[in-house]
Symmetry: none
Subunit: 149 residues, 2 copies
């Protein structure tokens, strides 16, 4: 299960060095095969290939007449790129995806259970501050209000 926040630098060639603690799990579960795609919040999502494949199956089954479903499919499926850990544990982020998420030098890799998110460091901090200041402003969700942790 992937967790935690990792501040990292992209090198001049747009590569991201995956922190060592995640490498072995990624090799074990996916042979180092990964899939990158985009998220609505202008970050990238990084899945181990087998996990992505199950997400993909769900997406494909979504309605083709509902416009929100079509939009979601275009975003996720349409931007998905396969990539692999190289010999030194890095992945090359394709230029179009890098541009989409405004990734230049400082980025954060955020563990989210079965996947990672990759954010521009500044954008991540801004998002977090806005959330903490702004308080509750999303849709309601009953399970959320019942949560104790």
């Amino acid at each position: 299960m992937f967790r935690g926040i990792n501040p990292l630098s992209l090198d001049g060639k747009g590569r991201l060095a995956v922190p060592t603690k995640y490498r072995q799990p990624l090799l074990d579960t996916a042979g180092g095969q990964l899939v990158l795609t985009i998220d609505r919040d202008r970050c990238l999502l990084l899945y181990p290939l087998p996990v992505w494949e199950s997400v993909e199956r769900q997406l494909i089954q979504l309605s083709s007449t509902n416009s929100r479903a079509r939009a979601l499919k275009r975003l996720l499926l349409g931007h998905a790129e396969e990539c692999a850990l190289d010999a030194s544990g890095r992945i090359l982020l394709p230029a179009p995806l890098r541009e989409f998420a405004n990734l230049e030098k400082r980025v954060v890799l955020v563990g989210q259970g079965n996947k990672f998110e990759i954010w521009n460091e500044q954008a991540w901090n801004d998002w977090r501050e806005a959330l903490l200041k702004g308080g509750d402003d999303g849709e309601s969700l009953p399970e959320l209000d019942a949560l104790a942790f």
Copy 2:
């Protein structure tokens, strides 16, 4: 069950020495494996690994399309770092988490039942004073009004 308030110092490398009274319980229940994450009130939460894992299971099941649920997952899961008691009973607080909670030298470790909270000492005192002065200003909750203690 963890209780009580413990004023402590971080050393120059950002390490926190867990008070001796908690060490054996932590070794017994979690093999010294702990998880640190952040809280909305700008403090850190420290869980024994097994306790955290049950929190995590709840989080993972939350919707990925609901924005409040995504936000909560990002905060809690996204900042969760596994760490272990070292040979001298200390844990290293990762720099990003230290920055988030403004932890430099003086901190307090507060027992909260199944977990701990770690506060900047000043922030803790201020928060408590503000609460005592300010009175009631949070959301309502039926169970709360029925509480006898």
